[in-house]
């Protein structure tokens, strides 16, 4: 399963992305998580297939615009990372992992 994080520059999300990969592995789910900046993520989506796109909370005011740009990718789940699940600490990322799994299985 491939997950994309989008934040302002793609820097801070990289750290959480790494952690999420670890946690998903511990929970027996193979996740590839990549982080991109708001200005470059679209190009990436056009070249690579992703299952889920999550917008980091600090740019949640851009969520509507991003969601609109993603409308053409039909199977892509687009959502926000809840602010209380966005820090690369084990228990916090575990919550994020559960959150994503619930979205996928919904």
């Amino acid at each position: 399963m491939k997950i994309m994080f989008v934040c302002a520059g793609g820097m801070s999300t990289t750290i959480t992305a790494k952690k999420l990969e670890e946690i998903s592995k511990e929970n027996g789910v193979a996740m590839t998580v990549n982080a991109f900046g708001a200005s470059g993520y679209l190009r990436q989506l056009e070249t690579e297939q992703y299952d889920v796109l999550l917008v980091a909370p600090q740019i949640r005011h851009r969520f509507d615009a991003i969601k609109e740009e993603c409308a053409k990718f039909e199977d892509l789940i687009v959502d926000k990372i809840p602010p209380n699940m966005y820090a690369p600490m084990d228990p916090i990322v575990k919550k994020l992992f559960d959150y994503i799994m619930a979205k996928i299985n919904a």
């Binding site: 934040c7 801070s12 999300t13 200005s39 909370p57 851009r62 602010p83 209380n84 820090a87 690369p88």
Partner: protein
């Protein structure tokens, strides 16, 4: 009470304001100028090579002095004409936002911007365009003309504006004429404004914007964006990206003026271009959180605070602090928000005074924002060792201000951990 106030601020102020910054023209300006940052950064480094931070009688300094004009040529063609690159980016981004061809929008924006200047025939040189207004001082004109050009393009394509052709003309020919229309309107319009009526774009716009530029370089003009950015972050919104949409054009004007002064061997006129904020206020990220991270990593009693501090330390050294902001969390946290807003204000006042009295050199180089604070401060000021001292002093002050709030936070975490066991 405090929590309700925070929620109210988030709902009524930061979220609507942040949404406003997503307005398409503001977004185009932001994207266009952000797109030029690599050009500005790399270009500005040639200023350090031309004026190396070493004693004047060393071999390096003598070599740089002998070849100064040549060393500065890359700077002249990059940072020195940043508004030209910005015009391209603004036009591209705005056209894309209207679902129009990005490259056409970019090119038309550049045409409109260049047509605010009057080329002259110079003996022995041919036709020459004075370069000064291609730089930061032309930024506001570049913004205006780029928007104008793309809006004309949109008007032609999206409205029912049409050049009617006789029935016999094949549709593809009619279309090719239509593609010429926006360019023709822009070129003719700019010809009339600039060359026929002789409107002095750069003189007039500079005069109109002068109060804003001057104010942005005062202590008050520094404290307003500093306060706004931390208030945004307190609600978990990327403050620099929101406030920067509006303020960055002005900051680049200040930076450009400082760089020009250095290249010309004059004293630096401004204190507060963007690197001032980056290296003397946002040390460790917005909120000057390097102070909090160091305390958490090395003075925590609670397990959570300590492990969060240790995890956030490495990114924090490179000015990335989202792990801390969302991990502590600082967002909507009535205790930690107080020093998060207060510390940058104190650091801004101290650093501003230090530079106003020339105790520390003023910034003129756009160092990459992910450099560790003291190193970035050293580079941004063209290699002033006193900038390192100021940066370290700022870090110590940040630790002092954060300390009492850190203690409350740490004790609270400790109490929670004891409850769990």
């Amino acid at each position: 009470m405090m929590e309700r106030l925070m929620l109210w601020l988030d709902e009524k102020f930061s979220t609507p304001m942040a949404k406003l910054s997503e307005q398409r023209h503001l977004r185009a300006v932001r994207d266009g100028i952000v797109g030029t940052l690599p050009i500005i950064t790399v270009g500005s480094f040639f200023l350090i090579i031309a004026f190396p931070p070493v004693p004047a009688d060393t071999a390096l300094a003598l070599w740089a002095k002998a070849h100064g004009a040549t060393i500065l040529l890359p700077y002249r063609l990059t940072m020195y004409m940043m508004s030209l690159y910005a015009a391209w980016g603004i036009g591209h981004s705005l056209a894309k936002s209207y679902d129009l061809d990005g490259v056409s929008g970019a090119q038309l924006a550049v045409v409109a911007f260049l047509m605010t200047m009057v080329p002259r025939a110079v003996d022995g040189l041919g036709w020459a365009l004075p370069m000064a207004n291609l730089g930061g001082s032309g930024m506001f004109v570049a913004i205006m003309t780029s928007i104008l050009a793309v809006e004309i393009m949109r008007f032609v394509y999206k409205s029912n504006f049409k050049i009617s052709m006789p029935e016999q003309v094949p549709p593809s020919v009619a279309r090719s004429f239509k593609a010429l229309t926006p360019t023709a309107i822009v070129v003719v319009l700019m010809t009339f404004i600039t060359f026929v009526f002789g409107f002095d774009w750069h003189g007039v716009v500079t005069k109109i914007m002068a109060p804003l530029v001057t104010t942005s370089d005062t202590l008050f003009g520094v404290l307003v964006p500093v306060g706004l950015i931390t208030v945004f972050w307190s609600a978990g919104i990327h403050g620099a990206s929101v406030v920067g949409s509006l303020a960055r054009p002005i900051w680049t004007v200040l930076l450009d003026a400082n760089a020009k002064a250095v290249a010309d061997g004059l004293p630096l006129p401004h204190i507060a271009p963007e690197p001032f904020y980056q290296w003397f206020i946002w040390i460790g990220g917005a909120g000057s959180t390097i102070g909090l991270v160091l305390l958490m990593a090395f003075a925590s009693k609670s397990v959570y605070s300590r492990s969060l501090g240790r995890m956030a330390l490495a990114p924090g050294l490179f000015n990335i602090n989202e792990p801390l902001i969302f991990g502590a969390p600082i967002v909507l946290n009535p205790i930690l928000i107080i020093p998060f807003i207060l510390t940058p204000i104190v650091l801004a006042i101290i650093s501003y005074i230090a530079m106003a009295f020339h105790l520390v050199a003023r910034p003129f180089i756009m160092a990459p924002w992910t450099l560790p604070g003291p190193i970035g401060a050293f580079v941004a000021t063209g290699g002033d060792w006193r900038a390192i001292v100021l940066s370290v002093v700022c870090i110590l002050i940040a630790m002092i201000i954060y300390y009492p709030f850190f203690k409350i936070y740490d004790n609270k975490q400790l109490a929670l951990e004891k409850e769990d066991h």
